[in-house]
């Protein structure tokens, strides 16, 4: 035996074999094969095959590749060793969609996050952007609340603009989507809003990638500064065929409601307001009434009428599959959502077909088509007297919504100013002065009688052709259209105050179309030289043209309230005429990239894009945006290669320049005269003062970070530090009013700002047992912002928006206001501090003047406002924490989001403490009533609004932790499912917005009052609609 062995050891032998991936059995090129205990090794070829000459003593081979579990296999007698490599962290080898191509995660040097489609589709939200909340580091999502399809604010790595939009570019299947943020036009687009992203069927989304740094996003050049969201829709897979059905049914309630005074408290408080100002002479102003004539005094909790239990049914069907020659995915969805607000409804139907054919192996071509139509029965909310969260909160709890003698049984005024809520026996004025600050609508008929409808439609169609003339070279041409339209239909009823009563019925219809086409031509060439040098080249062009047309038409003075549509002969007033607008813009671009990878270890990439955008000054249209990025997979180096703890470590960095042009007003660079008629005379008037030098906002972005997988890849850690310097901010720069420029602003590149921060993502597999597993994913983002430059010629004056400022050296949106000094215990008068923070200024309700503590008359004004350093409405830190537990066929998911470091101005609270005659926040019961009383609520004094003026009294911390979803799923046992003839069946239940932990006293600390396009005054909570708490039962089945 010994001799035999020695004999063999003197010989060498040849081992051959094939490496495949365990996932799909495809050949694995580039895998390393090494003899255990020696340095001899080779890499597999394109077919995954290898040939290795080994010494006879070699007993086993080791196979490895980045992102795969290392395997050791004994050399057997046959000399053939075949191995299927199993991916250790799937995400590393996964192919990611990046700008104009794809890449494996490990080859990527930029900062990028990926969210799976399943994480999005499972949430009961109208648009995918809402579902991104807390899912990845660096991305902050704020919903406006429970109004269906209302806009969502998306901020990637902080607020990157002051006047223009900070929303990221959204790219769907490689084609940049329309950038209109709201399909509404009437009421300045701020009445019933519709977020066009709600036109994308969340169930069609395969994955979403978020490009955060310049290294990742530079190929989107002038539109990349706010980050880029790449949405990839589902495609069929060769060799499969599936039918899947998904049915979601849910009901929702408001997660929180304001606490208002009840009927008795209302009477007490309002009579006290009047008594304190006018004395006994005023008598009783707040009195019980029996408006609904049921024989007892009316008591109404308006929240019971304004809010309701919403119900949603969302059903979709998808078919997918394919062969080597063709793949397909097609889907159909119909969702019927009834929101938590009275009358609010959204019906959505959508279809999609993604088909790709590959007739020969060097050519493929595909079509991606989708069509969505929705009907959105909108309701007005904040910002409108007729809005539900205004009228509903303000309405007296001592009158009924109903009056058997009123129009259609509702309690409405029918004499004098018609169409408001009738106030029964209440007395509303004294000495000719009305106690009513804002008139109150009856929310029910205001919704029932009138219409605020949107009918948005969206057709997208992409067609592409990809040719591979020689190995490694791909030429792609892709053409996409994106046609959005909205038919907006508003009807104001003659028996409801406002437009309806003024015009004896008014229909306003707007048809908006946004047509866009994009044509891309690009090539990608990948070549590996001598097994170690991978070179990748990309280059291309892109053209984009967008035209937006709106047409308005009106009809007023209807023959009878029966007629409420534009129908010939049914209305008299034709002098309102019609209206409209057309704007267009174009983008012409060239781009290229070159990357080199040595030995799968060292990465370098340079990329550049040149854009010309028609909105900019004639000589300033072209901008060039370069970036360079580096990467190093340290775990491939000898000193880490055999580490037991660190399985993968990649260090990467990037620096580049990208731009922002989003939200730039049309033709902003031009000085224009527009139509300006004077009653019956036609005229031209100056429409805007342009700035011929207008160009991009420039963001210089630096990013450094690492990705690590540790302890048999049970821990995945990604850390990034970023620093963004933004210059040439496109400001609608305020101009002195006295200069007389239209709108007192000129869009110009002035000002600069800095954002820096850190992002951490930690994925862990805490427990992995046969039947039980627990995985967690935690992400954290911390951000610091500084404004570094403003309009020098304006004396560097702060740019002010609702008590927040853009001010040099401070964070964008720093609050500036007077400081609350409490209530004077002796008199009950409200007090504030002078700018020195010490001198108290007391508002003497009697004299309606300010006085010092010694009684001298003084004034309180702008000079007393102070910067509340470090306090802004923008969260300084935020993130999410997801936990998934599986036990046999059960899975439990707990998904949390958190944010904080910001302050909210509780305008709902301040306005609901009003001294006018209306309902109040129940906290008004703590008002000052007797000398010596210590309280924070001043003495009541009818019509005295100074008491509730803007001050730190209503500023609160915005920190919160929200249990976004709790979900429990059960996958039916295969044996039962098979018997039924299904592939798999899963039943799950979910609670969305289960609970929130916060110190904030308002309805919800997740406020988005100023919505998409505003970067200042973001922390104002002004009667936003509470978020829904949604309970969903989901059934999905696959055949």
């Amino acid at each position: 035996m010994v001799a035999h062995a020695l004999l063999l050891s003197a010989q060498q032998r040849t081992i051959t074999g094939r490496v495949t991936t365990s996932e799909d059995g495809k050949p694995f090129p580039g895998a390393s094969v090494r003899v255990v205990g020696s340095t001899a090794g080779v890499q597999t070829d394109a077919q995954g095959q290898f040939t290795l000459v080994v010494n006879a003593e070699a007993k086993s081979l080791e196979f490895y590749a980045i992102g795969y579990v290392r395997q050791t296999k004994a050399i057997n007698a046959s000399g053939v060793v075949n191995v299927a490599l199993e991916s250790d962290v799937k995400s590393l080898t996964e192919v990611m969609v990046v700008g104009y191509g794809t890449k494996a995660v490990k080859d990527f040097n930029g900062a990028i996050s990926k969210v799976k489609g399943t994480d999005i589709a499972s949430q009961p939200v109208e648009s995918f952007d809402k579902a991104l909340s807390g899912k990845t580091a660096g991305v902050q999502i704020s919903s406006t609340g429970g109004t269906l399809a209302d806009g969502v604010s998306i901020r990637i790595r902080g607020v990157n603009s002051i006047s223009t939009s900070s929303l990221p570019l959204v790219v769907i299947d490689g084609i940049p989507a329309n950038s209109r943020e709201n399909l509404n036009v009437l009421n300045g687009g701020n009445g019933t809003r519709f977020d066009p992203l709600a036109l994308i069927n969340t169930a069609d989304i395969e994955s979403i990638e978020i490009l955060k740094d310049a290294g990742a996003s530079v190929l989107y050049g002038s539109r990349a500064a706010n980050g880029v969201i790449l949405v990839t829709t589902k495609k069929g897979k060769a060799g499969t065929s599936h039918v899947s059905i998904n049915s979601k049914n849910s009901f929702a309630t408001a997660s929180n409601l304001p606490n208002l005074t009840n009927g008795d408290q209302f009477n007490l408080i309002n009579n006290e307001k009047a008594f304190n100002r006018y004395g006994a002479a005023v008598g009783t102003i707040a009195k019980d009434s029996d408006v609904n004539k049921d024989g007892i005094p009316d008591r109404t909790d308006w929240n019971d009428y304004v809010f309701r239990t919403g119900k949603t049914s969302d059903n979709s069907l998808a078919i997918s599959g394919g062969s080597e020659k063709a793949t397909y995915y097609a889907s159909l969805r119909y969702a019927d959502q009834n929101g938590i607000l009275y009358g609010n409804k959204l019906q959505t139907g959508s279809v999609r077909a993604n088909v790709e054919v590959r007739p020969v192996n060097w050519l493929k071509s595909g079509i991606e088509l989708s069509y969505t139509k929705t009907r959105n029965v909108g309701v007005l909310t904040d910002g409108y007297l007729a809005g539900l969260s205004v009228s509903g909160y303000n309405a007296a709890p001592t009158v009924s919504p109903f009056n058997p003698d009123g129009p259609k049984g509702y309690n409405l005024t029918t004499t004098g100013v018609v169409g408001y809520l009738g106030l029964g026996n209440n007395i509303t004025s004294y000495q000719g002065v009305s106690f009513i600050g804002n008139r109150v609508y009856n929310p029910l008929p205001t919704v029932d009688f009138q219409r605020n409808q949107n009918t948005p439609e969206n057709i997208t169609g992409n067609i592409y052709l990809e040719v591979q003339p020689i190995s490694g070279l791909k030429l792609t041409s892709k053409f996409g259209i994106d046609n959005q339209s909205n038919f907006e239909d508003q009807y104001s009823h003659p028996q409801i105050a406002g437009l309806g009563a003024t015009f004896n019925g008014l229909v306003q219809d707007v048809h908006l179309t946004v047509n866009q086409w994009v044509w891309q031509n690009y090539l990608n060439y990948d070549k590996t030289i001598a097994g170690q040098h991978r070179i990748s080249i990309g280059a291309g062009t892109e053209y984009q043209y967008t035209r937006q047309r709106s047409m308005y038409t009106y009809a007023a003075d209807f023959a009878d309230p029966f007629f409420n549509e534009i129908i010939s002969g049914t209305f008299a007033a034709t002098d309102l005429g019609s209206d409209g607008n057309i704007i267009s813009n174009g983008l012409e671009s060239y781009f290229g990239r070159l990357s080199y990878i040595y030995n799968d270890r060292y990465f370098v990439e340079g990329a550049v894009r040149s854009d010309a955008f028609s909105e900019f000054g004639i000589d300033k249209r072209w901008g060039t945006f370069p970036s360079v990025s580096l990467g190093w997979i340290a775990s491939q180096e000898g000193f880490l290669k055999d580490s037991k703890y660190i399985n993968y470590l990649k260090i990467r960095g990037s620096y580049g320049k990208v731009g922002n042009s989003r939200g730039v007003p049309s033709y902003a660079s031009l000085t224009l005269y527009g139509g300006a008629n004077y009653a019956s005379l036609n005229g031209f008037g100056s429409a805007q003062v342009g700035n011929p030098g207008l160009h991009w906002e420039t963001s210089k972005k630096f990013n450094i970070g690492f990705d690590a997988n540790m302890i048999t890849s049970r821990i995945g850690l990604t850390v990034d530090y970023f620093n963004t310097n933004i210059s040439g901010l496109i400001l609608a720069a305020p101009v002195l009013h006295t200069a007389g420029v239209p709108g007192s602003s000129v869009v110009t590149n002035i000002g600069s700002m800095k954002n820096s921060g850190i992002e951490i993502t930690l994925n862990t597999t805490n427990i992995k047992k046969e039947n039980f597993s627990w995985t967690s994913s935690l992400n954290f983002t911390g951000i610091r912002n500084r404004v570094t430059g403003l309009v020098a010629s304006n004396n560097n004056a702060d740019i002010v928006s609702s008590s927040t400022v853009a001010s040099i050296g401070r964070a964008l949106g720093t609050y500036k206001m007077i400081q609350w000094a409490g209530v004077d215990p002796a008199t009950g008068y409200p007090m504030w501090y002078a700018a020195d923070g010490k001198t108290k200024k007391i508002w003497n309700q009697q004299t309606q003047k300010y006085m010092l503590e010694n009684g001298t008359t003084t004034s309180l004004g702008a000079a007393d406002q102070v910067y509340l350093e470090g306090k802004t409405g923008v969260p300084k830190w935020y993130g999410g924490f997801d936990n998934t537990f599986t036990y046999k066929n059960w899975d439990l998911g707990l998904s949390m989001v958190y944010q904080g470091g910001n302050y909210l101005y509780n305008t709902t609270y301040s306005s609901m403490m009003t001294n006018t005659f209306q309902n109040n926040d129940a906290r008004i019961l703590e008002r000052w009533t007797a000398p010596g009383q210590i309280t924070n609520v001043p003495r009541l004094y009818m019509l005295d609004q100074t008491a509730n003026q803007t001050s730190t009294r209503f500023l609160e911390k915005g920190d919160f932790l929200r249990m976004r979803t709790i979900s429990l799923g059960y996958k039916l046992e295969d044996r039962w499912v098979k018997k039924m003839g299904f592939g798999n069946i899963r039943v799950s239940g979910q609670v969305y917005n289960a609970f929130i932990i916060t110190g904030y006293s308002g309805i919800d600390p997740e406020v988005n009052y100023n919505r998409n396009n505003s970067n200042l005054a973001v922390g104002f909570d002004n009667r936003g609609i509470p978020q829904p708490r949604t309970y969903t039962i989901n059934l999905s089945a696959t055949l």
């Binding site: 003339p469 012409e588 527009g674 009653a679 200069a739 007389g740 004056a797």
Partner: protein
């Protein structure tokens, strides 16, 4: 076979490559605006210059200024109406601050209207040869009239009255007389001119306009009232001189309007407010349903009992009227839901009355009364013309002081809600009496004039704030 296959591949590749290289199409995707004109184009032909001149009046319709709000701001701080809750602190004097929104918007609106007139004059200068010399003169006259009108309200709302200091050397408002070249230039940071300087500028503009403007536009239904005319310039001059206390000139210009025999009193005081082109109207801002300053800002909305219904009439004003006789009560006041409401603005599209014949008669009466040493019979007669028209009892004052008091009372009765309420108190050296829930605001109080808006104060270090704010 292999060769053919290869060619097809390369062929496709070449086609794609050619597409990539030749697909520049900036011409097709970069379009000039089709919703607007360049300034050059807007002054290219005589017809277009005419339309650009019309644009100045469009700017004058500014919803926060001469769309009607400026009249409201002068009246809600006086005593003819109850302090409307809708306008927040504005009617309450002491609680107004420099960041008060309505104040800021009105200031902005005034300077936007002025800016449009200045811009028009600048662009016209460059396009002089496009129109006839006469037309050019007329347009400049219109621009100057508009500018003077805006400055008149600006200086009276934001500065103490002319007679507050001996030579009106107290602070007025910044005088912007040229269209700004660079919106961000430090040259735009103008200090406040004195009240005297502002009045001088108003006078100069109006005197020039008087020469340049036509008597009419041959359009009695609209332009003759809604565009500036000689009579409009003279009427405003009469008012300016009255405010200054230059009574001789006030009479001169009032007489110029009166002797033109073009204007007169309607039989019914309500006619002026229903038939906008009646003989009583000298200058009004025209409105139509489609360009009224909308349901939130129109006079007809704020004053309309069944519209927004924000502003109702004070009991004190009603008390001054003889309810059994005076047509100004019978035809111009209605009682709805327990309150009195004016009928001067019956529709959302009601025109904004600026200068009308009745005021000219009262200006003359007042000027005569001041100049005379005793009771001026002509002044009494003029007042009685006004009263007689409304079937009110005639007056027969026995002293000069009585006469002046009766004229001022008559102005209240006749011109109420037309935007001179607070001015009539201040220019005559009187404070605002206590009314409704508002305490007395003595003459000279810091709070009887509006604060210079914080927005401009922050950006213009040369701007001095009004005292007390």
């Amino acid at each position: 076979m292999i060769k053919k296959y290869f060619n097809t591949k390369i062929g496709f590749g070449l086609v794609c490559g050619i597409l990539v290289l030749t697909s520049s199409c900036q011409k097709e995707i970069f379009e000039d605006p089709i919703n607007s004109l360049s300034p050059q184009a807007a002054f290219e032909t005589a017809e277009r210059v005419e339309k650009s001149a019309i644009g100045m009046y469009n700017a004058l319709q500014n919803a926060n200024f001469f769309g009607g709000r400026v009249l409201i701001y002068a009246d809600i701080r006086a005593t003819d109406v109850n302090p409307p809750t809708y306008f927040g602190s504005l009617p309450q004097f002491t609680s107004v601050t420099s960041s008060e929104t309505n104040t800021q918007l009105a200031w902005q609106g005034a300077y936007a209207s002025i800016g449009e007139a200045n811009l028009f004059m600048k662009n016209l200068e460059a396009a002089k040869n496009v129109v006839s010399a006469n037309k050019a003169e007329q347009y400049i006259g219109e621009a100057k009239f508009i500018r003077a009108l805006c400055y008149f309200y600006l200086v009276n709302l934001w500065a103490q009255p002319y007679k507050f200091t001996a030579n009106a050397t107290h602070l007025g408002v910044p005088l912007v007389l040229k269209s700004v070249e660079d919106p961000f230039s430090a040259e735009n940071q103008l200090p406040r001119a004195t009240v005297a300087e502002v009045y001088t500028q108003i006078e100069n503009d109006l005197l020039a306009a008087e020469n340049q403007l036509p008597n009419d536009y041959g359009d009695p239904s609209f332009s003759d009232i809604t565009r500036a005319t000689k009579a409009a310039a003279r009427a405003l001059l009469a008012r300016v001189y009255l405010y200054k206390g230059d009574y001789t000139k006030a009479i001169t210009f009032a007489d110029k309007v009166i002797t033109a025999n073009k204007y007169g009193l309607n039989d019914d005081p309500a006619t002026t407010f229903k038939t906008y082109n009646s003989k009583e109207s000298i200058f009004s801002i025209g409105m139509s349903v489609s360009d009224n300053p909308n349901t939130n800002n129109a006079l007809g909305q704020h004053y309309g009992a069944t519209k927004r219904g924000d502003i109702n009439i004070s009991a004190e004003y009603i008390g001054l009227l003889d309810q059994t006789k005076d047509l100004r009560f019978k035809n111009l006041v209605q009682q709805v839901a327990g309150s009195y409401w004016t009928l001067k603005y019956p529709a959302t599209e009601s025109w904004v009355p600026v200068l009308r014949y009745a005021e000219i008669l009262l200006i003359k009466a007042e000027a005569l009364a001041y100049l005379a040493t005793t009771v001026d019979p002509n002044a009494v007669a003029l007042v009685n013309v006004i009263r007689g028209r409304s079937l009110a009892d005639i007056i027969a004052p026995t002293t000069k002081a009585d006469l002046i008091e009766l004229i001022l009372k008559e102005r209240r009765l006749e011109l109420a809600f037309e935007g001179q309420g607070i001015f009539d108190f201040l220019r005559t050296g009187r404070g605002i009496p206590a009314h409704s829930i508002i305490a007395e605001q003595p003459y000279g109080s810091d709070y009887v004039i509006l604060p210079i808006p914080l927005y401009d104060l922050q950006k213009n270090p040369k701007l001095v704030p009004n005292k007390g704010y």
